[in-house]
């Protein structure tokens, strides 16, 4: 059984956790395909704008630490990608401390585990589809990717799976763990087949997660994130053993959510700090 993971960056910690969870289920990863690092392309107007927004120091540090600056120019995203923590200094400029840089990158980890690695310039490209075919992919797993088109989704012989940070079909889209809390719903994870829509594929498995003891969004996301890798690996195992059935989603039953505004995030933070309990049984 050939399992391949698709991810957007070679610096994505999430993928290592998925590989480890799969190993715990005695499943071996055949290969990892990730986006090749691209040099930043910023024109003068963009550079002035970025310096105005984040301060010149941030721009220089971001260039120094990241070769993906174009895609991860927000400090929070920068942290998520590189494992580098920004702090807010007195003058309001973002500063970045060097820590966690000793963690292995996916590439280092994959090399140690003898997992095949392929870099592509575009995850929807023919090169990516060819790489998947050469690896004779049976199951493709998403480890944090942008929108992936049909030409990639049709390559795996069994299916493409994604694990979603909320219960589907109710919460599709972005920041869905936060949206679950904002709307008073249970927090959970869903493993689903990937189709051409946004989180609309058939559901394999879903599970609620108790986040009552998570007193911040970061703690809650870490809790859900840990659980989702375990659940994804468990689903892959059950799929290999043909013990899972697909449940098509009722698209009308859910909504697509988007990036949550800071003011609403603060409301979510307050609810978590008080010990969040959902209104709903699930």
């Amino acid at each position: 059984m050939n399992i391949v993971i698709l991810c957007k960056s070679w610096n994505h910690k999430k993928v290592i956790e998925i590989v480890q969870a799969l190993h715990a289920q005695e499943l071996r990863v055949r290969g990892i395909i990730a986006l090749a690092a691209t040099p930043p392309r910023i024109n003068l107007a963009q550079a002035v704008r970025k310096a105005h927004e984040h301060g010149l120091a941030h721009i220089m540090l971001a260039h120094f630490f990241s070769n993906n600056f174009d895609r991860h120019d927000h400090p929070h995203e920068f942290v998520a990608v590189n494992g580098v923590h920004p702090t807010h200094s007195r003058n309001g400029q973002w500063q970045i401390e060097k820590n966690h840089l000793s963690q292995p990158t996916i590439a280092e980890y994959a090399r140690r585990q003898q997992i095949e690695m392929v870099s592509v310039r575009d995850l929807n490209s023919i090169a990516c589809a060819n790489a998947l075919q050469q690896m004779r992919t049976d199951i493709l797993l998403f480890g944090g990717v942008p929108i992936i088109r049909g030409n990639i989704l049709t390559v795996p012989k069994i299916c493409t799976l994604n694990v979603h940070m909320a219960l589907l079909p109710e919460f599709r889209g972005m920041n869905v763990a936060e949206w679950s809390i904002f709307t008073g719903a249970p927090v959970g994870v869903t493993v689903h087949q990937v189709d051409s829509g946004v989180d609309t594929g058939a559901i394999l498995y879903r599970e609620t997660i108790n986040v009552a003891n998570c007193n911040s969004i970061a703690a809650m996301r870490a809790r859900v994130s840990r659980q989702q890798h375990l659940v994804l690996a468990k689903c892959a195992r059950l799929l290999v053993e043909k013990k899972l059935t697909l449940t098509p989603q009722q698209k009308a039953g859910g909504k697509q959510y988007y990036l949550m505004h800071e003011k609403l995030r603060k409301i979510v933070e307050r609810r978590l700090a008080k010990g969040y309990q959902s209104n709903m049984d699930c």
Partner: protein, 418 residues
């Protein structure tokens, strides 16, 4: 030769908008590099709100007649007072007076209403342009003046405002076609769906007078507009002239007319009202487009694709109001979320420090300022909608400051056997 002529024209245009003035040049430079205020440096809503209110106060004082100057133009400075927008600024000032518990804003609102009485035509209509030009009556402008007059009557009980409102309402009813549309005395002499924004004041007048003809005229027009909504939520005939890619400003007018009319007609269950649902269809399409792109274009085509690279700030503020109202009516938090982002965007374009009183606290027609909608100008209606949007945002967010019991949740989660 043609290139030289084009360059000469560009130079003439730049001279005309007086970019050599330091305050104008600064705005031009900021917009060229898109140097809006970063999110982390935005002030609280109350500061942005107060700056916009002060700007409108200066616009009202600019002509000394009680009306509010239509806009501050880079080329000419303050323009003459504008009846249409002075009409709908009146409710904004009454609301702000209540919020701030300051009677001076109420007095200003009444001064505006008194000025409206002085420019009303004998037949009850209101003029189409600002008062510097001799202008024929206009349906839309009369509707907006009506909104202010009815509110002035509600606030004071003074019959003079009611009588003026009735004359305006009667004129609107008389001008309506048999099919419910307004062609005569309409902008470019053609029927527009964004005249739903006239239906709402007519329904307000009906509420004040219980005269059925106002209600019937409003509903007849609302029905006519519904027939122009497409399956994807798009609304035909909602532009001034360019129906292929109308401004967000008029799209938002149409939605607001539907929303407020629906909420007035069915106050007990507004979310189920057909006009509110029509607004919801358009609002959802617009929200999706905005969130995916991360930018609100100034003009849209029939597929809800943004057709321009500039943003219509007036339309942005109006859309924020519509989304906030939809959140209020449906409790769909995605609309609240989108509105917060749009409000932040407009806040990031507001200059709070300029020495130029025409710029400080005002809201541009377009971002950047040379965008097609009301270019190189600060229209009073942009500031008005911005104020309404911030006041509504604050009101809705205050709900979250109360001790929370059970959270609002409208999903019916189904158990899935795994």
């Amino acid at each position: 030769m043609a290139a030289l002529r084009a360059m000469a024209k560009q130079l003439r245009d730049l001279l005309e908008v007086r970019l050599y003035r330091p305050s104008h040049f600064r705005i031009g430079l900021q917009d060229y590099f898109d140097l809006r205020t970063p999110d982390r440096a935005l002030q609280s809503n109350s500061i942005h709100l107060a700056a916009a209110i002060d700007w409108i106060c200066r616009a009202q004082d600019a002509n000394g007649d009680g009306g509010v100057a239509a806009r501050y133009r880079f080329s000419h400075g303050w323009m003459a007072s504008y009846p249409e927008t002075t009409g709908y600024i009146i409710p904004t000032f009454f609301n702000y007076a209540v919020l701030m518990r300051d009677d001076k804003y109420r007095r200003r609102a009444l001064h505006m209403a008194d000025w409206l009485l002085s420019v009303q035509h004998h037949n009850g209509a209101f003029p189409g342009h600002d008062v510097s030009q001799k202008s024929e009556p206009r349906v839309f402008n009369t509707g907006q003046a009506l909104l202010g007059l009815v509110r002035a009557f509600r606030e004071t009980g003074n019959e003079i405002y009611l009588q003026a409102s009735i004359r305006a309402g009667d004129w609107l009813v008389a001008m309506q076609e048999a099919n419910g549309a307004w062609n005569k005395f309409a902008y470019y002499q053609r029927a527009h769906t964004y005249y739903t924004e006239v239906d709402w004041p007519l329904l307000e007048l009906f509420a004040a007078t219980q005269t059925l003809s106002y209600y019937e005229a409003a509903v007849k027009h609302l029905e006519w507009t519904l027939s122009y909504q497409q399956a994807n939520g798009w609304i035909d005939k909602c532009g001034f002239r360019d129906d292929a890619a109308p401004f967000l400003h008029t799209i938002a007018y149409t939605m607001q007319g539907w929303l407020e009319s629906g909420a007035t007609l069915q106050p007990e269950e507004p979310a189920k009202n057909i006009y509110v649902q029509a607004a919801l269809r358009a609002a959802e399409a617009l929200l999706h487009r905005y969130e995916i792109r991360g930018f609100m274009a100034g003009q849209f085509d029939r597929a809800w694709k943004g057709t321009v690279a500039y943003s219509c700030l007036t339309g942005d503020a109006q859309t924020a109001i519509n989304w906030l109202r939809l959140y209020e009516l449906t409790r769909d938090a995605r609309f609240l979320n989108g509105a917060l982002k749009l409000n932040d965007y407009v806040k990031s374009t507001q200059d709070l420090k300029s020495n130029n009183p025409g710029i400080r606290g005002g809201i541009k027609g377009s971002q950047p300022i040379w965008g097609r909608y009301i270019f190189y100008s600060y229209p009073n209606w942009a500031a008005k909608f911005f104020i309404d949007a911030l006041m509504l945002e604050d009101k809705l967010l205050r709900e979250f400051e109360r001790p929370e019991g059970r959270y609002e949740h409208r999903h019916s989660l189904q158990k899935l056997e795994s």
